[in-house]
Symmetry: C2
Subunit: 388 residues, 2 copies
């Protein structure tokens, strides 16, 4: 209890720091050219299957090139899991790296918040439980079951910041002291190879962040420094047509068409989210916190698409933002729940005490989830590419 502040009623109130952050991406690199070749192969298969001639619109969905992807998406390459590799493996690699390098014993973890949109198994078992076993987090203590809190958390591309807000609530309210926060996605499992929209965009990665209780006056955050938004009126902009509880029994035709995979109306995403995240959403979050754009030393913006993100950052610059933009440089694709912690882990030189930062996630739902904070302790960061 020494760490924590106490309210006038004797109740515990803590702050939260990030004590370490790690990222893992699989070995297999997919260049834009390789993605383009895979789409061409799929078009040949589609023709060979003889389901009629390709219309001009459909044919376009298979067409891409390194030049096109660099120009319109800003990505150079991404990494995909091998067959049989799952979200839990990405998370476990990152979490083991984090625990080893920070010298944290599995027995010091009291909670697992597993942020992902690509669970290893449908329905059950949850990834949070599987990670307990992967890491050897102890189940018993003196013959009594040792409490471990947690759950799987999902909110499309806003997953990680939303799970960070939950971690903060757990710690601030005294429900947990040391949380392993995961952001991990095998997005390659969601790709429809008959549609370049997401095929050129998505990538796989796992991250782990250690969220720890600190005295209230060392808090990196505050309740007013989290801001979120849910807008289901535009749910169909980023959507998987079949395979969920609305359509649990896809037909063979639907499966052949890739309807069980993610689809996106990229033009609408851009025309809706750029002005929203670039303007009123960021304004609302800053206003709530009592911050200005000028206060931000750096931001990490969910790497949905680097040209789209450049438009958002352009809006922010016009509003006074003069800081750094941390990202993964188009080398990992859009890794959904992993993107923001991956961007932090890849830029350790920016993670200096005293820096004020903004974490901005947005995406399917539609959804947005933002966090503003100040680094007040050392934040070591670790990256590993391919298994050890």
């Amino acid at each position: 209890m020494g760490l924590m502040g106490h309210s006038r009623m004797g109740l515990v109130l803590s702050g939260m720091r990030l004590e370490g952050i790690s990222a893992y991406a699989p070995e297999e690199v997919w260049s834009n050219a390789r993605v383009a070749a895979r789409l061409r192969l799929e078009r040949m298969r589609r023709r060979a299957a003889g389901s009629g001639p390709l219309g001009a619109e459909e044919a376009k969905l298979f067409e891409t090139s390194d030049r096109w992807v660099r120009r319109f998406i800003g990505f150079q390459e991404r990494r995909f899991c091998s067959d049989g590799e799952a979200t839990i493996d990405l998370a476990a690699q990152a979490a083991r790296l984090l625990l080893e390098r920070t010298g944290t014993g599995p027995g010091e973890i009291d909670s697992i918040l597993f942020g992902s949109v690509t669970p290893t198994h449908l329905y059950s078992p949850p990834d949070a439980a599987m990670l307990q076993d992967s890491l050897g987090i102890p189940l018993w203590n003196d013959g009594r079951p040792r409490e471990i809190k947690g759950a799987d958390v999902s909110l499309a591309c806003s997953t990680w910041v939303s799970a960070l807000a939950m971690a903060y609530s757990f710690i601030r309210s005294g429900m947990a002291q040391r949380i392993l926060l995961i952001g991990a996605d095998r997005m390659s499992a969601t790709i429809n190879w008959r549609d370049r929209s997401f095929a050129t965009v998505l990538g796989d990665a796992g991250t782990a962040t250690l969220c720890s209780a600190v005295p209230e006056d060392e808090d990196w955050f505050a309740p007013s420094q989290f801001w979120s938004w849910l807008d289901g009126s535009q749910a169909d902009m980023i959507l998987t047509p079949v395979g969920g509880s609305r359509r649990p029994d896809p037909t063979a035709d639907e499966l052949a068409l890739g309807q069980q995979r993610l689809a996106m109306d990229g033009a609408k995403v851009r025309s809706t989210l750029v002005p929203f995240v670039g303007g009123p959403a960021a304004d609302a979050a800053l206003t709530k916190a009592g911050w200005r754009f000028e206060d931000l030393d750096f931001v990490a913006l969910h790497e949905a698409n680097r040209t789209l993100n450049a438009s958002i950052v352009g809006e922010w610059r016009r509003r006074g933002f003069g800081g750094e933009v941390l990202d993964a440089g188009g080398m990992f694709g859009n890794t959904t729940a992993a993107s923001i912690p991956l961007a932090l882990a890849l830029n350790p030189e920016q993670l200096a005490a005293g820096k004020r930062f903004g974490l901005f996630a947005f995406g399917g739902g539609l959804s947005a989830s933002f966090a503003l904070g100040t680094i007040r302790h050392p934040l070591p960061a670790f990256v590993q590419l391919g298994p050890r």
Copy 2:
């Protein structure tokens, strides 16, 4: 801010009450006999498909009867969604009922925690966002985007109590004031009709619970009154073999066998979870809270299986529990994320101020999540069967 306590540092600390609870179950009733007939039909199809003779072990998986289900599971009937009805519809029906009957405007909701293992769509959009739209929760306020927090939360049959703990953390830490907590599952979408294990067990339902901030001294809960557990070493006991990120491309044979559906080793579940939940897990939760079994006026135990639950309650009675057991009486099956709030909503006469209660969820993962509380305000409850 008048509602909330303030810590010595001027920060907000609140308690949480439940302000209303509602449950919705679809119109279509499936008796045990109807489930048995459906399994027989599937056996005929399996034979007609001519994939070799049925072995004795496999044949047994199709065999059940009303008598068998009543004896070994204790269920009489359950309700299934119609084709095209999804988890979001179950949740929206329950939430609308709750808002109408409690006189709560959609604009009073600041957060949606959507507990479910059967998302309406894979990957995106999240159900929490879709529910914003279904309920007409306002997105804008004086030309500025109105904050709405939330996410989808999943932890097998422990989902709802885990999401309740998150709701508590949000409110206690001042991150939210009025949360719509959903527990909803279309479990019929997860049934493998070649395996009686879950076919005889699962049911569909949606629930909504209004979680509201109250002054700290009216708190129904406390951080010490939540207890959870994650044990991935037994993850294969309740598992969906294919369709997640480990195996995103099931073969046609696997699909025909129902490998994309939930499977359970029922004997192991019973031999593991009865002694654990009946003994050390419940003891740990009570000890943490400083409560005894004698303190509990009623419990709601996740209705996994009524004979299994009777064994757990038997253990508790031997330890001093003398209260009521609230459940759905075997009339709705195992509704996963909906089971505990459904049991509460079906027993409004028990929800009297002053009552001390325990909510006990356990299941796949393995996982367990418990909450102990005291009713301190009126708790209206509403149930609706079939759409209005």
